[in-house]
């Protein structure tokens, strides 16, 4: 993935509620220009979301295309209770998950070395090290943002997916379990390991230097 998270790049924000209603009416009327505007306005953000879930650029683009086609078919059912962007966001997440399900799963790399090690008596092998700053401050640094995105991508797929659904998409455990076809307990265990592994990947780049 080429680091195109939602926080990068230029471009505009979504229009007002009145703009949304007008756009929706044009879409429902089948206006070609309205569809093109919609795709141009939202495809970048949707591609960024799909890339988080899918390591292959081709799969990410396919997911965005599938999502738009699904959205076009469901336009009449869109109630307008949420923003178009929120609706499209949900659809592209589902399209990306569908893509993950239909692909043959590759053997995953172990994350054990990223988890804390313990001595026989249960103490940590190495004491945890404080970070130089809090998350809010670190997130303002481009090199940290790039590193965090790359670290999320680096997680094996089953861990990355659960972390994205729970911590980024903020779905609850049961919904995540349903979408991934695993038990709630498996979601909890995997999420904990995914967060620990992500922490292990980020730490060397943000740890407080020795005085």
């Amino acid at each position: 993935m080429s680091g195109t998270g939602a926080s990068t790049g230029g471009g505009g924000r979504e229009g007002s509620g009145r703009d949304e209603t007008a756009r929706l009416a044009r879409l429902r009327a089948g206006e070609d220009e309205a569809f093109e505007e919609l795709v141009r306005a939202h495809s970048g953000r949707m591609l960024a979301v799909a890339r988080r879930f899918l390591a292959s650029e081709e799969d990410a683009r396919d997911a965005v295309q599938d999502a738009f086609l699904s959205a076009f078919r469901s336009l009449d059912g869109f109630q307008g209770g949420s923003l178009l962007s929120t609706w499209l966001h949900r659809i592209v997440v589902n399209a990306a998950l569908m893509k993950l399900r239909t692909r043959r799963r590759k053997p995953e790399q172990s994350i054990e070395e990223l988890l804390p090690g313990f001595l026989e008596d249960g103490h940590m092998e190495r004491p945890a090290v404080e970070w130089e700053k809090g998350a809010d401050v670190l997130a303002e640094r481009e090199e940290v943002r790039t590193r965090v995105r790359a670290s999320i991508e680096q997680l094996p797929e089953s861990y990355r997916t659960v972390l994205l659904l729970r911590d980024i998409e903020e779905l609850d455990t049961e919904e995540t379990a349903r979408l991934m076809g695993i038990s709630s307990n498996a979601v909890k265990t995997r999420l904990h390991r995914a967060r620990q592994a992500l922490r292990g990947l980020i730490e060397p780049h943000v740890r407080r230097s020795a005085p």
């Binding site: 979504e14 093109e36 738009f68």
Partner: protein, 83 residues
């Protein structure tokens, strides 16, 4: 409580679902083990950092939208309309 157990119970503690008296034991371990306190803090910061970096659905649009993708979507729509 050992550090290993502390890490095992960390999620339940953060979610407020760790039952007494285990919660008390968990917090007791925090008083005697600065490393586990740091681990808990940085674990929590990891989650916050991930959210801060990724979660901005209303943020600016990335600039690198491939034009062929846009054209493919629009062509596919026209194709599906024609079906």
């Amino acid at each position: 409580m050992t550090c290993r157990e502390f890490v095992d119970f960390l999620v339940e503690y953060l979610e407020g679902t760790l039952p007494e008296p285990r919660r008390e034991t968990f917090e007791g371990h925090m008083h005697e083990c600065p490393s586990c306190v740091t681990y808990l803090d940085t674990y929590r910061e990891t989650v916050r950092l991930g959210k801060a970096v990724c979660a901005d659905p209303e943020g600016p649009v990335p600039e690198d939208v491939p034009d062929p993708l846009v054209r493919a979507i629009l062509a596919a729509r026209r194709g599906s309309d024609a079906d």
